[in-house]
Amino acid sequence: MSSADIYKELILDYYRNPRNFGRLEKFDIDSRDTNPLCGDEVEMQIRVGEGQRIEEIRFVGKGCAISQASASLLTELAKGKQLEWVKLVTKEDVFKMLGNPDLGPSRVKCALLGMKVLKTGVYGYLGSRYDDSDTAGVPP
């Protein structure tokens, strides 16, 4: 693993200039989670529009470059998609979105925090419960 691989331009850019950062005045979904190991925090707010589409999505948070860039990139991907799309997102999609950085087991959780927050919020809105075992990372 090399830090040049992990901290690609894309991640540094979204860390320093996070897209969709902030809060919504009107929202239907509000989901927040932390990574107790690192103290990373992500909260997402979503306004659901016609046809169960993600009309607007914002996030706030603090934490490492990987957690914040990942959450921000995910909001860009999610915007305009149907809620059902969120159910289909996998951790591999998130890694791909980040440019497949070579993350160690302890940093995988940072990358997946945004997805966990998004899925937890959307599943709850749709009346089901998100089983987060696939974002728990690989035990070291």
Binding site: Y7, L12, D40, I66, G104, R107
Partner: protein, 412 residues
């Protein structure tokens, strides 16, 4: 700049087998000693020797192995007690600092804390010296209040004095902050707390491994520490109590070893300290802790402290040259244990730890089990480099080079 070495670092380093290993092809620079320290060969050998030569239960078997194990276990207790100026009869072996604090919470707190009583701790505590008191306060209807901090990361003694006027029943304070490195005047705090009628508990997890400690001179009612942060094995630590206090307390855990006589309707308790060591004790690790105490005693704790103070002085000075380096806590090595917490530009501590890891440098990043302190500092996390006897000026230089590299990667 003082760069002369107080300890024979080359010799010391050769005593620690793990320091020979490479990490990602680089020399291991281990700067995570506040989390746990590495173990010298003599400690590892003591464990192997016990298991391969005289493994047996203690205090019950009259055969040769049982006698040898009992003698070694009790010798270790005596050494550990002497090391901190305590009486062996008042030193209870526990799993670590956390268990020692929880022992006090249950065995003292449940009996002595009443509705409306005040418990006092500080904003710079590790979670292990906050959460047990939150739970005790909840269980007994008591109130928990915190001594504040001054801008330089030292305790706000005015807020302490004003809390004393509210007649707390307990003052629980750390001897040395695991984040800021601040060394507190625990002797002064204990004496004032005692005059105000409070019991005192001092968390020695970050002091006993790094400086001479004399619990008699400090005057605490309870002094607690962990073995694994002082070159000993994990799973062993100690509670050193003021004489007589343990006798008056109810047991913590109940079972074998802690009883004198058991009848169907009641039991009587074994003598202190055994009254607080229910079940088969952690024999091997207690013996290992004795070996760690021997090792540190041979080096001399005064020298250990001097060595670390010079490293801290050097680290604070040299790292402060880096643009974007922010230090938390006192700058003065006199007021600081072997810990420096910092942030570097806008590089998050976890990203920094990942980049340093590639260089073989182990630091800790995160909230250091001190979230109230992180909130007070108004940061979500810090990076922490912490030193011990085998660290050298070269390690500090390696850390500085690592920070420069992080600066390049993050284009700061």
């Amino acid at each position: 700049m003082l760069k002369s070495e107080v300890l024979d670092i080359k010799k010391v380093r050769s005593d620690f087998p793990i320091l020979k290993r490479m990490v990602h092809g680089k020399r291991l620079v281990y700067l995570d000693n506040a989390a746990t320290t590495q173990k010298p060969r003599s400690v590892i050998d003591a464990l192997v020797d016990y298991y391969s030569r005289y493994n047996s239960n203690v205090h019950r078997s009259v055969h040769a192995l049982g006698e040898e194990a009992t003698v070694a276990y009790e010798e270790s207790r005596a050494k550990t007690a002497r090391f901190v100026g305590a009486n062996p009869g008042d030193l209870v072996f526990v799993r670590g600092t956390t268990e020692a604090i929880n022992l006090v919470r249950f065995a003292w707190g449940e009996q002595n804390v009443r509705k409306g009583d005040l418990l006092v701790t500080t904003l710079m505590e590790h979670h292990s010296n906050i959460v047990p008191w939150q739970l005790l306060a909840k269980a007994r209807g008591a109130v928990l209040k915190f001594v504040g901090l001054q801008a330089d990361g030292t305790l706000d003694m005015e807020s302490f004095e004003s809390l004393l006027k509210e007649s707390p029943v307990l003052v629980a304070v750390t001897h040395c902050s695991n984040v800021l490195g601040t060394i507190n005047d625990v002797a002064g705090i204990c004496s004032k707390a005692r005059r105000a009628g409070a019991m005192t508990l001092v968390d020695g997890a970050q002091s006993v491994p790094h400086m001479p400690v004399d619990v008699g001179a400090i005057g605490s009612d309870f002094y607690v520490f962990s073995g694994h942060k002082m070159l000993g094995p994990t799973g062993i630590g100690a509670l050193a109590a003021r004489k007589g206090i343990l006798d008056a307390m109810e047991p913590f855990q109940a079972g074998g070893e802690m009883i004198k006589e058991v009848f169907l309707d009641h039991s009587t308790w074994n003598d202190v300290p055994h009254k607080f060591e229910a079940g088969t004790v952690n024999i091997a690790d207690a013996i290992g802790l004795g070996a760690a105490v021997d090792y540190l005693t041979a080096l001399g704790m005064g020298k250990v402290r001097e060595h670390e103070a010079r490293l801290i002085e050097y680290a604070v000075e040299t790292l402060s040259d880096l643009k974007g380096f922010v230090l938390y806590g006192p700058r003065d090595a006199e007021k600081k244990g072997g810990v420096i917490s910092f942030n570097f530009a806008d590089v998050h501590p976890h990203d920094l730890a990942t980049i340093l890891d590639e260089e073989g440098i182990a630091i800790r990043s995160g909230h250091h089990c001190a979230q109230p302190l992180m909130n007070w500092l108004n940061v979500s996390a810090t990076s922490r480099a912490s030193f011990h006897v085998y660290n050298s000026y070269d390690d500090v230089d390696a850390l500085k080079d690592g920070l420069r590299k992080a600066g390049t990667v993050f284009k700061v």
